[in-house]
Symmetry: C2
DNA sequence: TTTTATATAGAAACACTGTTTCTGATACTG
DNA sequence: CAGTATCAGAAACAGTGTTTCTATATAAAA
């Protein structure tokens, strides 16, 4: 075995270790919340020094970034598991419902990704790309709706962003404690969804 | 001077000191951002021990809470300085614009109040009340619009919340770095505003 | 094989945070 | 004036992200 293959195995080992650490961090995130994800706690769970984490991920942001990407995967899967509906309007509704469910079932991931839990972490190119990928299901439906003439607006990304922002706004105000009861929040959420679909697809249906 | 008046002067002095400390904290907030508002930095600016801050405000949350209320005042004033428009639609548009301006001109306040900058701080009764007061201008216009038959929905608070959440969603996604350029963000914001007004007041105007 | 070089992991330290404790001075009470 | 109680200041505690130092273990060279 020459030098190339050696460094290759070492690189692989590092990559495996990296993945295990991310999984440990993800466990802490889900079980204890974003603010409990600390380098020391992850190191303790891995039974290793904090230094090894700093060697693999440059700093905490490097670890948080991978958790962000992990969250994007979970969100993407949530969207993908939505069964295609008969009408596009219903499909869009179902996707909005899936987004809501994601924020409920993976609240700690949601906080980390979109909640502003880490003021130090700002998504860069790769993270934004992952977010776009996660929302692709959404974009796809909107694009098709535009092509089918159900939505007048021409830029699908713009429509997706407006919808996303509305849904996020309700969820985030709730998570921030500005809308107290979950029941009220869900009511507002459904209201927003209806309002959005009405605004974008209003001229055609019913 | 009897005991009553003495303790009264002492109480007043404490109240004055409290206000000065809040102002010092507010200065740091505006000049350096939310994460720079630390007990030690405030104490340094006041040239006093940290203990005195802990005596007046129980903990950091107590101080943050007052900054939150301060921010509500600023927001309320921003709304109040909006001159009444001819049509209610335009008035609503102007209020939305004022909310945008507030998030731009007082970004650090916005982060503290609605950005989730302090995961430890959750608004309680008084803070929520202050928020409602700040948004009262909004509620007022919506109420009038409902009474005038311009908006079908009967519950003004619900309408205000849906609008607020939509606007907040766009702003917060931008502050979180998920929508990159400010230009794109403003475009989405205006789009949301138009869409909201269209959805709520669509059946009447032009 | 022996020596040299390098990489790296672990412990401890640094600079910061919110918060508490201890102590000494100051100011009210009897 | 003597005693007491309050309260501000410094220091300490427990935590954070991050860096430095050192010893070891492993790879390369002789």
């Amino acid at each position: 075995m020459n030098i190339k293959t050696y460094s290759e195995t070492k690189r692989q080992h590092a990559e495996n270790l990296k993945q295990t650490i991310v999984e440990a961090a993800a466990t802490i995130l889900q079980e204890q919340g974003p603010e409990e994800v600390t380098i020391r706690k992850v190191a303790e769970k891995m039974e290793c020094s904090t230094k090894i984490i700093y060697n693999l991920f440059n700093n905490k942001d490097g670890l948080i970034k991978l958790l962000y990407l992990e969250g994007c995967k979970v969100l993407a899967e949530a969207f993908q598991s939505v069964s295609k509906q008969e009408t596009m309007e219903n499909y869009l509704r179902a996707l909005c419902e899936a987004y809501w469910d994601f924020s409920c079932n993976y609240t700690n991931y949601y906080q980390l990704m979109f909640g502003g839990a880490f003021h130090e972490f700002k998504p860069e190119e790769e993270s934004i790309q992952a977010t776009t990928t996660a929302l692709q299901q959404f974009t796809q439906v909107v694009t098709e709706a535009i092509e089918a003439g159900l939505i007048e607006e021409k830029d699908p990304l713009q429509v997706v962003h407006v919808i996303w922002a509305s849904l996020h706004g309700v969820i985030h105000l709730h998570l921030g404690g500005h809308i107290e009861s979950i029941k009220t929040t869900k009511f507002l959420y459904d209201n927003s969804v209806t309002r959005l679909i009405q605004a974008y697809m209003g001229s055609s249906s019913s």
